[in-house]
């Protein structure tokens, strides 16, 4: 079994990217921290040959749900409009526009997009993690990306730097 330090080095960055895409700049680091602490605890029991990245994303998914629930409990009920993330974004936020667009996706689509396009997990694995059938996971990711294309303009495109 590899020393856990190697797991953090190899998968820490991609799990952070996934957490950021799923939770946004404010809560991502909490989810990452809880994910790796849980993973460290369970690591000696991980079977040989297990897909470590899928295992970490599965834990991160559960932690993300915890974080979303916790912030829902904290949030003051609002009648008409949901709070826009831009009002609470810290100064070092990675990218307001991309997160604004991601935040508007339904939770399941956002998760499917992140797990497929950022973590590179196959749809069967994603369906296992988020629940439902493989086809539904594939559809959630496709719908999510389609919406993102429509709502989020890549900075390079906005500047007209790419054709």
């Amino acid at each position: 079994m590899r020393p856990f330090e190697q797991i953090v080095t190899e998968y820490g960055p991609v799990v952070l990217r996934v957490c950021r895409a799923v939770l946004g700049p404010v809560d991502a680091e909490d989810a990452w921290s809880e994910t790796f602490l849980s993973a460290l605890k369970a690591y000696p029991e991980l079977p040989d040959g297990a897909n470590v990245e899928a295992w970490l994303v599965r834990i991160a998914h559960r932690k993300a749900i915890d974080v979303i629930r916790a912030s829902a409990r904290r949030a003051v009920p609002v009648e008409d409009l949901p709070e826009t993330p831009s009002t609470s974004r810290p100064p070092d936020a990675w990218d307001g526009d991309l997160w604004d667009a991601l935040a508007r996706l339904p939770d399941k689509q956002r998760a499917a997009v992140a797990y497929h396009y950022l973590a590179g997990l196959p749809y069967k694995e994603i369906a296992d993690i988020i629940g439902g059938q493989t086809d539904a996971a594939r559809r959630a990711a496709a719908d999510g990306v389609k919406t993102l294309r429509a709502t989020y303009r890549h900075p390079a495109e906005v500047e007209g730097a790419t054709p």
Partner: protein, 202 residues
């Protein structure tokens, strides 16, 4: 990792964020120590005998390894022999780092850190527990050590115990030399043995 045309959509999300990774790693180390999950903490240290890997359990220093032992291989062995809950976590090694610096400056003759001998068993362990009795600046022959460990004929086994010492420098197997006064082998190589014995003779 898949590369899909959609990837450019996420270009704004850094693939690697060094600052965040450093901060999160430090948090993980602190939380692991707090929760009793930091089974093995390690760091490296530059010394006159090269880069040493230092690793400690909650019980004490469990491994000191020379560069030539291949630090990655040593950590993999620790994962199997002790626990895979291993993190680069320098704080636990602070006392031994301080004492090693004093030792290499010539100001320290005895190490006073808790030792975890779990990596050596039986006769080898009996040999290693005798080694700190060989005073700083002195040497003993393999035969003398065999006698002190209670098995005068086990000269070859003393050689093996020294060659497999999990705690070189701190447990002074470098003070064991051949009966004819030549250095004999050393886990850190003959140059390292000469450096240590020269330092201690000064």
């Amino acid at each position: 990792m898949m590369t899909m045309p959609e990837d450019h959509l996420f270009d704004a999300l850094p693939v690697v964020d060094e600052d965040a990774n450093r901060r999160l790693h430090a948090w993980l180390v602190a939380a692991a120590a707090r929760d009793g999950l930091l089974d093995v903490a390690y760091r490296t240290l530059e010394t006159p005998v090269g880069t040493l890997l230092l690793a400690a359990t909650e019980q004490g220093l469990v491994r000191v390894a020379y560069d030539r032992e291949d630090h990655d291989a040593v950590l993999t062995t620790l994962a199997a022999a002790v626990s895979p809950r291993i993190l680069a976590a320098p704080a636990r090694l602070d006392p031994v780092v301080r004492q090693l610096a004093e030792y290499f400056d010539g100001g320290r003759r005895v190490f006073e850190v808790p030792l975890d001998f779990r990596l050596s068993k039986g006769f080898r362990r009996a040999v290693l527990s005798h080694l700190p009795d060989i005073a700083y600046g002195r040497t003993e022959s393999y035969a003398q050590v065999a006698a002190a460990a209670g098995s005068p004929k086990a000269v070859r086994a003393v050689g093996t115990a020294c060659a497999t010492n999990p705690l070189p420098v701190v447990v002074p197997c470098h003070r064991v030399v051949r009966s004819d006064g030549s250095f004999g082998g050393y886990v850190g190589g003959e140059d390292a043995k000469r450096t240590l014995l020269t330092l201690e003779a000064a």
